[in-house]
């Protein structure tokens, strides 16, 4: 899935939760208030959109710190699905 599409989904989740959309991909997730629940929802929405389950690399998952990491990770996971 295209990175820009994943970014739009992420923004939609943040806005729904009453937070600001992402302006800088280098923003840390904890500064954004983007929690594991939000990440799970985003990954689920990526799966639904692509109509296939994503497979996660646990080591890569642990390295996620910023918005860019999330986008990279899901872009890669959806490509591999």
């Amino acid at each position: 899935m295209e990175r820009i599409k994943i970014k739009k989904m992420m923004d939609a989740i943040l806005i729904k939760l009453g937070r600001d959309a992402v302006h800088d991909e280098n923003t840390e997730l904890r500064d954004l208030g983007f929690r594991s629940l939000d990440f799970s929802e985003l990954a689920l929405r990526v799966e639904m959109e692509g109509n296939s389950e994503l497979y996660f690399d646990a080591a890569a998952l642990r390295r996620i710190r910023t918005v860019a990491d999330v986008l990279d990770f899901l872009e890669e996971a959806s490509r591999a699905a």
């Binding site: 799970s40 689920l44 799966e47 389950e53």
Partner: protein, 431 residues
């Protein structure tokens, strides 16, 4: 037979038939039509309308048959196979024809009901007239003509038939629920004064029908059952029909009808937990689940039965909070309860109906998901944000639904109950 005496001189005000004997007489050609041996067999009568169904019930009761009635639309090939496995010969009333025969002797007086299938495949539940007829101790009261929206052959439908047979001046107005506006228009014309239905029926009505039409029916008795009745629906009915008594009944095909509440409040008084020999039923709570013992229970229920309904004690009131088989969503190790989430959502003024369920999700295992119907006129574009933020105020973060579907109509079973939803897989499409 003792039960024959029940249906003398009881009025059925619709269709021109003056009493149940008259209906039973109409059944006689069918009895003569088939081999006399089959009259002693277990027979499923397939009917194409309510009148046929009533004729079958009246005639089958007269002859003490072992029977069930099933509407034509439910009699699919898999259903016919299930009927055959259960030992039923299948007779299509409008064709005067057995479409399948099984040489299984019947048990005189056994009546088999078919459930609505809210939680899965419809079940067959065995009763007798004595267990179906919960009105045998009811004294004659006000005259009512009842709208009967239930599907033929279900427990709720049989309850209405039993009411009409057993209590004087209780007319039945069987109606299709395919078009609710038409139903309400016809009910006005027929002069309906009472209705038995589900909360889902009313939620659909409030979504689909002009308020002026809703108020044109002069209802004096509204009975709710089949689902949990919340305060919001009770208050809405009270507002639309200030002259009506609104009752809600706890009943199921297995335990029969028991708790009846008339005080306009959700739940039921805790004092009903006290043993009372004058009642035909007793209830108790064991580990949060409601147990019932009733003389009107299904034939194979001989003692206490676990209803599977979870209840909570709050002051002097007992409230239903969900089903034990669908109670918990494990969200990354945190437990969320669909019943709690649904109750909160239903308290939102924009919402008319909802159901909450587990949706499989990456990393955390499950997320809470909600299907909702908004009140007419509410804007859908902002609804997800509004409802999410409403939940965030009142619920722990993990319990806030993450996947929302906004439905135009409440998904219902054929017997007017909202369909329940099981766990959704990860790749199911949703909004």
């Amino acid at each position: 037979m003792r039960r024959n005496t029940h249906w003398d001189n009881r009025l059925w005000t619709v269709g021109g038939y003056r009493n149940w004997c008259e209906l039973a007489d109409l059944f006689e050609p069918h009895v003569k039509q088939y081999d006399i041996e089959f009259a002693t067999h277990r027979v499923a009568y397939v009917v194409s309308n309510h009148l046929e169904a009533l004729i079958v019930v009246a005639g089958a009761l007269r002859h003490d048959l072992d029977f069930m009635v099933i509407p034509l639309e439910r009699c699919s090939t898999p259903m016919e196979q299930r009927l055959a496995l259960a030992g039923f010969s299948v007779y299509v009333v409008c064709d005067n024809l057995f479409v399948s025969t099984v040489a299984v002797k019947g048990e005189p007086g056994r009546i088999t009901l078919i459930t609505s299938g809210t939680t899965g495949e419809p079940k067959f539940v065995e009763h007798s007239w004595l267990s179906i007829n919960t009105f045998d101790r009811v004294k004659p009261g006000a005259k009512y003509d009842w709208i009967v929206p239930y599907q033929v052959g279900t427990y709720a439908w049989f309850q209405m038939v039993a009411l009409s047979i057993s209590v004087s001046e209780q007319g039945l107005i069987p109606m299709s629920t395919n078009d609710l506006t038409h139903l309400f228009e016809e009910a006005v014309i027929a002069g309906a004064s009472a209705i038995s239905s589900t909360p889902t029926f009313w939620r659909m009505a409030f979504m689909q029908i002009e308020e002026s039409l809703i108020r044109r029916i002069r209802l004096r008795q509204i009975t709710l059952g089949g689902e949990v009745v919340d305060q919001k629906i009770l208050d809405a009915l009270r507002m639309q029909y200030p002259m009506a008594r609104v009752s809600h009944i706890f009943a199921s095909s297995e335990v029969g009808a028991c708790i009846v509440v008339n005080d306009g409040l959700a739940g039921f008084p805790a004092k009903l937990l006290q043993h009372d020999d004058t009642r035909t039923w007793q209830i108790r709570i064991d580990q949060g689940e409601l147990w019932v013992r009733s003389r009107y229970a299904a034939s194979d229920v001989i003692d206490w039965i676990n209803t599977g309904d979870l209840v909570t004690h709050n002051g002097d009131r007992i409230f239903f909070v969900g089903r034990s088989d669908q109670t918990m969503i494990n969200i990354g190790g945190n437990k969320a309860y669909p019943g709690d989430i649904e109750r909160l959502l239903l308290s939102h003024p924009n919402l008319i109906w909802c159901r909450v369920y587990a949706h499989k999700a990456p990393l955390l295992g499950y997320l809470a998901a909600a299907d909702v119907c908004l009140r007419p006129g509410c804007e859908i574009t902002e609804a997800e944000k509004i409802l999410t933020q409403y939940c965030e105020i009142h619920l722990p973060d993990y319990a806030v639904p993450r996947i929302w579907q906004f439905l135009d109509n409440i998904p219902v079973t054929d017997n007017l109950k909202a369909e329940l939803k099981c766990v959704q897989n990860r790749t199911c499409s949703a909004r």
